[in-house]
């Protein structure tokens, strides 16, 4: 860098203290956010002897997958000791129908609310939104009794219906807002062409819904897979989702606590939503923006 007495051309770059402070803050924050993930991973690959030495942040000396196998197929999740794989498949069986049905109902409802003038639609939407803010505990007991009465309690169908019910506000919000932003000329043109309610939905609206369906799917997959309380209450003993079995493995074992197995099971449970997150990237953020910026 020449020491020009007369300034000319590009300004010399000084790496200022302020800039250093910015990077320092971000680095420390990144460490804060990453350490639990690191700990989770490292512990799962260690042996119990090594864990007992108490170096929670260090790399495993002799990495082993033993804890993973145990967590998957033989950890005790209450009365049975068949590992968390049971929970994995339960969660899958709950997830797939729940996501499909809740997105479909949300799309249909959002479509009906945004293009068609139905009296009371706005009031319905308002009540739906308010319902989203109220904690589940306010609705839970009567729902349990109702589901018992109609035979849906403790079943996969039951938990699917529950997820549709509690997913409806967010799904309707997403689709209604998205459809409201589409040009109404599209809709009018289709009506002039003679298409009816279902026809317009199938041939015009649905094909245009790909972005919002992706966002809705991401939010629902994450939300339903991570759910604990609804699965615990409604799915039934043989259909408990992975989160419930995980909690059982860690918090209700008798005898010595096997930290490596616990952490392996934890990673396995977090794997699905984490993968969705890493793969979907920008779509995930878009989902949050769409859901959080209401109306």
């Amino acid at each position: 860098m020449s020491l020009a007495l007369t300034p000319a051309g590009p300004k010399p770059q000084h790496f200022s203290v302020a800039r250093l402070g910015v990077y320092a803050f971000l680095a420390i924050s990144a460490a804060f956010f990453l350490i639990p993930l690191w700990v989770m991973m490292m512990t799962s690959f260690k042996t119990m002897d090594e864990i007992r030495l108490g170096h929670i942040l260090s790399l495993p000396a002799n990495p082993t997958l033993a804890a993973w196998f145990k967590a998957w197929s033989s950890a005790c999740t209450g009365l049975a000791c068949n590992g968390i794989s049971v929970g994995f498949w339960n969660s899958v069986r709950i997830l797939v129908p729940s996501v499909i049905v809740s997105i479909f109902v949300g799309a249909l409802t959002g479509y009906a609310m945004s293009f068609w003038r139905v009296r009371g639609a706005n009031a319905l939407f308002a009540v739906l939104l308010v319902g989203a803010f109220i904690p589940y505990q306010v609705f839970l007991y009567p729902l349990v009794r109702i589901f018992s009465m109609i035979g849906l309690y403790s079943s996969i169908s039951g938990i699917v219906v529950i997820h549709v019910i509690f997913g409806l506000p967010l799904m309707t919000l997403l689709f209604r807002n998205y459809y409201s932003s589409l040009p109404v000329e599209l809709f009018n043109a289709a009506r002039v062409d003679g298409a009816g309610f279902v026809g317009i939905f199938r041939h015009v609206i649905l094909p245009m819904s790909t972005p919002i369906i992706i966002v809705a799917a991401i939010l629902q997959v994450t939300g339903i897979w991570n759910d604990f309380i609804l699965g615990l209450t409604f799915a039934g003993r043989t259909n408990q989702p992975m989160t419930v079995l995980l909690n059982n493995i860690v918090n209700s074992t008798q005898g010595e606590v096997e930290y490596n197995v616990n952490m392996a099971a934890t990673v396995l449970t977090a794997l699905v939503p984490l993968t969705v997150y890493l793969v979907s990237g920008r779509w995930f953020v878009r989902g949050i923006a769409a859901g959080a910026v209401k109306g």
């Binding site: 007369t6 300034p7 000319a8 051309g9 590009p10 300004k11 010399p12």
Partner: protein, 360 residues
């Protein structure tokens, strides 16, 4: 106070060079307009003078001080932007005083400056309002006021009227001219609108592709454009262009397809070579209807379109194989299909080299 000098400026982004080797001297108190189509580099040049973008080579001097490496706030400039960029949650008064408050200016000094700017720009009834409650023209006046209170020598304007509708644009244009007459600071103004340029400027710098095509007074730019681009860019309706070739030792005549124009009274800069291919340019208002007087060139044509504009009427006809527009009087009775006689004086025309575009 307030002279601006740009020397051998080069600006680029990555491998793309926007401006190369540009120099410009602006005298104190001058109102200079950077005019050109979008992408010509005028905003880039303005932002470089302001210090908002980095330059690759060259120097910027403001007020006899080398400010090439100085921060925008240390250059003694105020700036008005296209989208006003007022602070949205503050009142007009707070918008005007915010910068001064940050700088620690004493309270009575702030009050005095705000009062002076407010009076000059008629902002007094608006002081307590927020920007969202103001019209576009009012917001721009506040933006100008924000620059005014800084007590700087140089004002920079980046297409400030482009977001306004036509009527507001005309009103505010006059106000800016009046402002310059009142306070007399150096003003550098960027626009793509030639009306703004012609009415406001002491000098205009017409730019294209990062190069100043001509730097001159509005009168000179209009009547003596330096090249084809400037000639075609300025003037509405545009200059009429005729292709031809010069004949004779002093370019005594210009031959076009179907005739010849006597060029003996045209002020050539240098005696042109025999046979030079040229483009002859004549402005619509320099063409009159009727029979040609002595020394002028006359022709006849059939009118194809008539555009009545109120104050004048535009007639479209053909000449030398191309369409030609003529400015006629507002109450002209010429109709489509009429045959008209018209003439023009070569001395008032412009002749350009057909290949280089330079004025001859």
């Amino acid at each position: 106070m307030g002279a601006v000098s740009v020397r051998d400026l080069a600006i680029g982004f990555g491998d793309v060079s926007v401006i190369n080797n540009l120099s410009l001297e602006i005298t104190e108190g001058e109102f200079i307009v950077l005019l050109g189509p979008s992408g010509c580099g005028k905003s880039t040049l303005l932002n470089a003078i302001a210090g908002l973008i980095d330059i690759k080579q060259g120097q910027v001097w403001i007020d006899s001080k080398n400010v090439t490496w100085a921060e925008p706030k240390d250059r003694g400039i105020g700036m008005v932007f296209q989208s006003y960029s007022l602070y949205p949650r503050m009142s007009v008064e707070q918008n005007l005083s915010f910068g001064l408050r940050i700088a620690g200016t004493p309270k009575d000094e702030i009050a005095a400056r705000v009062a002076k700017a407010s009076k000059l720009l008629q902002l007094d009834p608006l002081l307590k309002r927020k920007p969202s409650e103001l019209s576009g023209g009012q917001r721009q006046r506040v933006a100008i006021g924000r620059a005014l209170v800084r007590n700087v020598g140089v004002f920079l304007f980046d297409e400030p009227l482009s977001n306004l509708d036509a009527k507001l644009r005309n009103e505010l244009r006059v106000e800016i001219k009046k402002l310059h007459q009142d306070i007399g600071n150096t003003m550098i103004y960027v626009t793509h609108d030639q009306i703004e340029a012609l009415t406001l400027a002491d000098r205009i710098a017409v730019m294209k592709s990062g190069v100043i095509q001509q730097l001159a007074s509005p009168h000179d730019i209009y009547h003596f454009p330096a090249n084809l681009f400037v000639a075609g860019f300025i003037g509405s309706p545009g200059m009429n262009f005729i292709s031809g070739a010069l004949r004779g030792s002093q370019g005594v005549a210009c031959d076009y397809d179907g005739g010849s124009v006597d060029m003996s009274r045209y002020p050539f800069a240098r005696p042109p070579a025999e046979g030079t291919r040229v483009t002859l340019g004549v402005r619509p208002e320099h063409i009159d209807l009727g029979d040609a007087p002595a020394g002028a060139h006359g022709a006849r044509g059939i009118v194809s379109i008539v555009e009545p504009m109120g104050a004048e009427t535009i007639l479209w006809t053909t000449f030398a194989g191309k369409s030609m527009t003529i400015r006629a009087d507002g109450d002209s009775t010429v109709k489509v299909g009429d045959e008209i006689a018209f003439w023009f004086d070569a001395a008032r025309a412009s002749v350009f080299d057909a290949t280089s575009g330079e004025r001859l």
